[in-house]
């Protein structure tokens, strides 16, 4: 389809792919980017929160024309049972700054913008093009890709795999394994539209200010899961995700769970009168540090979700995608500039740059968290939310019971449910996994 040879082929036009393509093209490399969707973003799903500092490192003046929804001034964490929520809210005027730190975005729109920036830098983008195979020589060195276009082989010095969590090329070429049910979450989400003024009054914000709510609780039916509600300019993203292995065991229907979640008495009033315009589903990498695969080889690197880069505890994914894409691009540029070949030995520079960055340090810090939360899901996601709700209600309801008796009741409930040993062990294990 294209006769010429490229310095690099990037497979995918999501956050990681665009970051890699932009970084390389802006340093003068000849880059071909392949995207199977009709337009960049048409296959991509995210909550979505975008962290400014990681994008600033790629496009410093992005605020001038990027499609940003709202900058976040308030974060709410809710622990929910069937009728209640116990919350921790943090709101600060400090978040109303010249260059805000976090924004909500709508991925299809954001990705179109990011892709336009890449093309402005000289990236050749082909959409509606599914890469079907990596072309490898007898030694396994990646030479290029085959696509579903006519005569669809194309060659490059290096292929950047930014194919997402459900990417097929890497696993089918033996470069990494497919995700396992216990290391990925299935998330479902809806986009609910409301007038901007309604959102502002319901969430007590003005102008472009926005609010994030993230929840755990009985809505996940004892599965390891998280719910979320993000305010966009004129819409609300609402959804939940649970581990695929837990879904397989419980056989709960994700869309019925989402419906129950939306109808929760703490959530329904926030969505009332809205019009749903899209329903989406996507996998999220949840295995953390221990699931990171081999990241480079002869003629290839892997970035973003495909490399299992996601910090499930802090719910950071797209910034790790952007950072890994940027670092891969920088490494490739440096190797190219030194006129060295794109061998495994040279491409290990990418891994060195990652190791020196916050990305690997953060994932390493929480390496034991997935194991803890995934094996104790009914305690952390069902029992504790119920107990906390009961405790809060017991504390607040004035009914003539003495305060001492109320306290005893609450501690008895915790001990009966989890036992003293269980409570201590949960606390200790959580503390150790966190440090």
């Amino acid at each position: 389809m294209i006769e010429e040879k490229f310095d690099a082929i990037v497979v995918g036009a999501g956050m990681a792919g665009n970051a890699a393509a932009y970084t390389m093209a802006s340093r003068g490399l000849k880059v071909l980017q392949l995207e199977r969707g009709e337009y960049p973003g048409s296959k991509n799903v995210q909550g979505a929160i975008m962290y400014a500092s990681m994008l600033e490192k790629i496009i410093p003046d992005f605020r001038e024309d990027a499609p940003l929804e709202r900058h976040l001034v308030e974060q709410r964490f809710w622990m929910m049972d069937d009728k209640s929520h116990t919350g921790m809210h943090y709101r600060s005027e400090d978040f109303n700054e010249d260059k805000p730190n976090r924004y909500t975005i709508v991925r299809a729109q954001f990705d179109k913008w990011f892709s336009r920036k890449c093309r402005d830098m000289g990236v050749t983008l082909l959409t509606e093009t599914t890469v079907t195979e990596l072309i490898q020589n007898d030694q396994g060195k990646v030479l290029g890709v085959k696509t579903d276009r006519k005569g669809g082989a194309v060659f490059a010095d290096v292929v950047v795999l930014a194919e997402g969590i459900n990417g097929l090329l890497g696993p089918r070429s033996g470069l990494r394994t497919s995700p396992k049910p216990e290391t990925v979450a299935l998330a479902v989400k809806e986009m609910h539209f409301l007038p901007a003024e309604t959102i502002e009054s319901r969430f007590n914000v003005k102008g472009d200010e926005g609010v994030v709510i993230e929840m755990v609780g009985t809505f996940s039916k004892g599965m390891t899961g998280l719910g979320f509600l993000y305010t966009n300019k004129e819409s609300i993203s609402v959804g939940l995700g649970c581990l695929v292995s837990d879904f397989a065991e419980t056989r709960e229907s994700p869309y019925a769970m989402l419906e129950g979640f939306k109808n929760h008495p703490s959530i329904a009033p926030l969505l009332e009168g809205s019009e749903c315009k899209e329903y989406a589903a996507h996998l999220i990498p949840e295995g953390g540090y221990k699931e990171i695969p081999q990241l480079f080889g002869d003629g290839w690197v892997v970035v973003g979700d495909a490399a299992h880069f996601n910090n499930a505890i802090h719910r950071e994914g797209s910034n790790l995608a952007m950072t890994s894409g940027r670092l891969a691009g920088e490494a490739i540029h440096r190797i190219k500039a030194a006129r060295d070949p794109m061998t495994k030995e040279h491409l290990k520079l990418y891994k060195q740059l990652l190791d020196d960055s916050f990305l690997m340090k953060d994932l390493k810090k929480y390496k034991d968290m997935p194991g803890l939360l995934h094996t104790n899901s009914s305690n952390f996601f069902l029992s504790y939310p119920q107990l906390v709700s009961q405790a809060a209600q017991n504390f607040l309801r004035v009914d003539g019971t003495s305060k001492l008796e109320k306290e005893k009741r609450t501690s008895r409930a915790f001990i009966e449910k989890r036992s003293r040993i269980g409570l201590i062990s949960d606390a200790v294990r959580l503390a150790f996994a966190w440090r």
């Binding site: 048409s42 093009t129 969590i165 397989a248 109808n263």
Partner: protein, 96 residues
């Protein structure tokens, strides 16, 4: 509280370009579905998998959102084959 939900009402909101006659997912011939294959009839977020009158699982991936849940559960065992739709086909998110 039980809430009746028809996933069709949700999928109706979405844009798709269906590659007619070229399903990107197929189920292998089987006598009795495994636990994971059976689970897909309820956990597939687009309800693409259904039990037929013979007690076997069929797939109709027209409403598929290409999440990969079924691939993660049933590809390695050979119970399903999973490929991306041809370029440009499949789900087309307006918002994502």
């Amino acid at each position: 509280m039980t809430i009746a939900v028809r996933v069709e009402d949700k999928l109706f909101q979405n844009r798709y370009l269906v590659d007619a006659g070229r399903p990107h997912i197929t189920v292998a011939v089987h006598e009795k579905p495994s636990a994971n294959l059976m689970a897909l009839t309820t956990i597939c977020p687009a309800k693409c998998y259904e039990l037929n009158e013979k007690g076997q699982v069929d797939v109709t991936p027209d409403g598929c959102m290409e999440c990969g849940t079924c691939r993660v559960l049933c590809e390695a065992s050979g119970e399903i084959t999973w490929n991306y739709p041809r370029g440009g086909y499949g789900v087309l998110y307006k918002f994502g």
